[in-house]
């Protein structure tokens, strides 16, 4: 099989294949991926909503809380079971999830998500890690 301008074209193809196979190469030799293990609160078994809800919709909840608390002045949230919580990242959420690095960051790092919670909220000194 005779190729014309083969050198340049093969070089181009190698670059092309290199780019498209890079994700495979990047992961070669690494252990099978497993979802990060989160450090769960020790003395609280139930979150304010179900686990599934919290997994996929916590950002929406936090966003709503911010709007309610800061813009409307509503400070309390009633969950689906009728239980009341103060809308506060630090007083409510981080009361149980005390460690940002061991909880929030775990998934956010893997999913490359950079929430802007911490643009305003200051991590309590004791929680920094």
């Amino acid at each position: 099989m005779k190729l014309y301008n083969g050198g340049k074209i093969i070089t181009g193809l190698v670059i092309f294949l290199g780019i498209f196979l890079a994700p495979l190469a990047y992961n070669v030799g690494k252990a099978a991926y497993t979802q990060p293990k989160l450090k769960m609160p020790e003395n609280e078994k139930e979150c304010i909503e179900s686990k599934d809800f919290m997994r996929t919709k916590h950002m929406q909840l936090l966003n709503d809380w911010r709007d309610f608390a800061l813009r409307d002045g509503t400070r309390f949230y009633v969950n689906s079971k009728g239980k009341q919580f103060e809308m506060s990242l630090q007083k409510t959420c981080m009361k149980c999830h005390t460690n940002k690095a061991e909880f929030c960051d775990k998934c956010h790092l893997d999913a490359s998500v950079t929430p802007y919670c911490w643009d305003c909220h200051i991590q309590p000194e004791g929680l920094k890690k």
Binding site: F20, A111, S112
Partner: protein
Amino acid sequence: MKAIYSLILVLALVVLATLGAGAAKMQIIFAYCVPGTAFVIFLVGFTAKIIGWAKSPVPFRIPTTGGQQQSLDWIAQNKWDNPSTGPQTAMRMLLEVLTFRSLFRNTKVILRHDDGKNPIVAYVSAKWLWLFALLFHYSFLVIALRHMRLFLQPVPQFIVAVEFVDSVLQIYTPIVYQTDLLILAGAGFLLARRLYDAKLRYISLVNDYFPLLLILAIALSGMYMRYIAKVDVMAIKDVVMGLTTFKFKTPPATIDVSFYVHVFLVSTLLAYFPFSKLMHFGGVFLSPTRNLPNDTRMHHHENPWNNPAIKPHSYEAYEDDFREPMFEAGLPLEKNPEEAA
């Protein structure tokens, strides 16, 4: 009509994936087998197509010259539009591939012949196609790069940066990516002009509507996953990483069916790619009117099938034909009539 066929085709794909992964519970097939196969078809098909082109030589050096040639020293050459060296040609190609320079030239003809006396044919600037094509392609690129967060562990800083910039406006929750809107605008414009411009409608084929609608469907299904269904990203990363590390496991049940629809549409695009006009992605690099310097008066270009047996009608035959009248006219001859006789 061709647009409707294409739309039906794309909807059929959506239904197929919904039924397959959702109702028939064939998640493993839709999560691993289909995209894996499609990816292999894409790579092999793409490579085969390029090799197929490489098998044909470029017999002549035929750049379309878009500016002043290199000639006398005191005449400024337009090096990017009429290159005469390799680096200049590389520059022309870079501008072509990265900035769609030829499309930037686009004009639109306007013909006015109502006022009777003074007919006017005018050529007005028409950069919309260039702008939206550029938006469309760059959005596509950024979106593809962004998705690498699901394919790579740990996520490289570069991808994090792309992600950050693309969501820098911090609107809505989850934060809206600008490229999601831009690709809809780009693809939407490309589709709209095909439908509204009578000339374009006339030349458009199923081969044109189908990939456009498919890409729109991919974008919309992706946006549905993110903004409406709010799928479990970590579970999806689990599946995708299984695919890229060849360590397959049963997909978590928490994954929304929209994920399988999205993956199925992308798989269709990958498998369709090498056999379609989408190969312009590879072809643009090989176009002989762009990727060669305009230098065949300076350097020899070899045509592999040049046939040395093709010779001009010889002077000898010419003189034999016209010797008498040439002699009478006093034109110089190789052999005068007596010698030839």
